[in-house]
């Protein structure tokens, strides 16, 4: 939803010949894909496949070595506040829960008189209203991740990029975070997330990007990927085998 509560068109992402090289090693190797429609995209792959790196390049935190990436014809830096990122390791300021959200609103230049109502709404959606005045860094792992998502969503982004948002969380906390992701999706926010948790991918993915050693091996609808993957690497990954 936009600031007037109206549904916004989902932002398409087009990636062509995208590569990323560091220390002489090719970490992302000529990726080509296009994400369209209001679907939840899950980037799957074993450790070191390049999932988190791809997410950072999509957000603009890292610049690709070559190739193009555009959000509805705009570069990530031009897309600006339409993109929001939630990190695997939560980064919370040494402030209260509500002040963490207030800080984000302040950085983005949201008027002071508007901040209070937006903070209340964000905390309510995250189920953290009762903890508004608590120090953010003393929350449990699940609460911290919910605060991170609430803080990212308070900017009303059109795309929410989530890097392994439930790693190290227990099942209860994972369920609460997944509920927030579904709520954001239902709100018209494009969801792109990484995970190495196959069961989570089955629960959340509408489409899957499967990466291995920096190469995009599969880009397909989730039902097809989980039932009949095209590549032997994906098949072995789904069987729980350790890929080299």
């Amino acid at each position: 939803m936009d600031e007037r509560g109206e549904q916004r068109p989902v932002m398409p992402l087009e990636v062509s010949d995208l590569s990323y090289v560091a220390g002489g090693k090719i970490l992302l190797n000529k990726l080509n894909f296009r994400l369209e429609g209001g679907v939840r995209t899950v980037i799957l792959g074993p450790n070191g496949a390049g999932k988190s790196l791809l997410l950072r390049v999509c957000h603009g935190l890292l610049q690709p070595g070559s190739g193009n990436l555009s959000w509805a014809g705009r570069t990530p830096s031009q897309a600006g506040r339409d993109l929001a990122m939630v990190f695997q390791r939560t980064v919370l300021l040494r402030r209260t829960v509500s002040d963490n959200i207030a800080h984000t609103l302040g950085i983005m230049g949201v008027a002071r008189q508007e901040r209070s109502s937006r903070i209340d709404t964000a905390l309510k959606e995250a189920g953290l209203s009762d903890l508004a005045d608590h120090p953010a860094r003393t929350l449990s792992g699940g609460e911290q991740q919910r605060l991170s998502i609430a803080r990212a969503r308070v900017l009303r982004p059109r795309v929410l990029l989530l890097d392994e948002p439930t790693s190290n969380l227990d099942p209860g906390a994972t369920a609460a975070v997944e509920a927030m992701i579904r709520a954001a999706d239902a709100d018209g926010t494009r969801i792109i997330m990484t995970t190495h948790d196959i069961l989570q991918a089955r629960r959340l993915a509408d489409e899957v990007l499967f990466l291995h050693k920096g190469r995009l091996l599969e880009h397909t609808v989730a039902s097809k990927f989980f039932a009949d993957p095209d590549t032997s690497e994906a098949r072995r990954f789904l069987l729980g085998e350790l890929l080299e």
Binding site: H59, L61, S77, G80, R81, A84, M85, F87, V91, L92, L93, R94, R95, H103, T104, I107, M108, P135, A136, R137, T138
Partner: protein
């Protein structure tokens, strides 16, 4: 032995009775050291933050220099400030040698590297932690610096207290540039040195007691602030 006990008893009396000479010396000491910390903070805080955040050629050398400068020998600093402020020195026209101003200058030079180095470390650690988050918001330089300074405020305050501890306990520099003139530039440490050499242990011990209380208070404050911040903000 009884002389020592007698001196201690008299010293306690001087402290408890707020002896005018003692109060005057303590007041001047606090005025000089607090002024020095204030000036050093005005330079050291932005300098430390800049070294932590701005990439420039020779940055590593600057960090090493800042850290090394924390151990500047006070007598050498005193000597250099003396040469600068003496009548024939480049700043001799200011006419501040053997005044509290000269003592503030010397202590500022001693304290500034401590504040700058601790600020750099604090801001650098926080920056490493917050960098991706702030980048993801597209935060500008000023927004970054204000965020880091605010979130590091308790650790920075500890740095200021460390600077104050160094300034208030320092004797070598202030005795050279202040001259230890009675009722003008006599501070706790210089008075202790002088009175001890004269064999007048009463005042020396009384000032020693105040200095120890001050040092203990500063350290206690640093610990309490750190604990409170950690409890309040994690």
């Amino acid at each position: 032995m009884s002389e020592v006990f007698s001196a201690v008893a008299t010293a306690v009396e001087l402290v408890v009775g707020l002896d005018p000479d003692l109060v005057e010396i303590v007041a001047l000491s606090l005025k000089v050291s607090l002024s020095a910390v204030l000036i050093a903070a005005m330079v050291g805080l932005p300098l430390g933050a800049a070294v932590a955040l701005v990439k420039f050629p020779g940055r590593r050398g600057a960090v090493i220099l800042l850290n090394a400068a924390m151990g500047l020998p006070p007598v050498v600093v005193g000597l250099i400030v003396y040469l600068l402020l003496s009548r024939s020195g480049p700043l001799g026209e200011m006419g501040v040698l053997f005044t509290p101003t000269a003592m503030v200058i010397a202590q500022s030079i001693l304290v500034m590297p401590i504040i700058a180095a601790l600020t750099r470390q604090t801001i650098s650690d926080l920056h490493e932690e917050y960098d991706e988050y702030l980048c993801s918001l597209g935060a500008g330089h000023l927004q970054r610096i204000s965020t880091l300074l605010w979130d590091g405020r308790f650790r920075l305050l500890t740095g200021l207290l460390a600077g104050f501890g160094r300034a208030s306990a320092e004797v070598g520099a202030v005795i050279i540039v202040g001259g230890n003139i009675n009722h003008v530039t006599r501070v706790m440490t210089t008075t202790i040195a002088l009175e001890t050499s004269k064999g007048n242990l009463n005042l020396a011990l009384a000032l020693g007691i105040v200095l120890i209380i001050l040092a203990a208070s500063v350290n206690a404050a640093a610990v309490l602030i750190g604990d409170a911040a950690s409890k309040r903000y994690g």
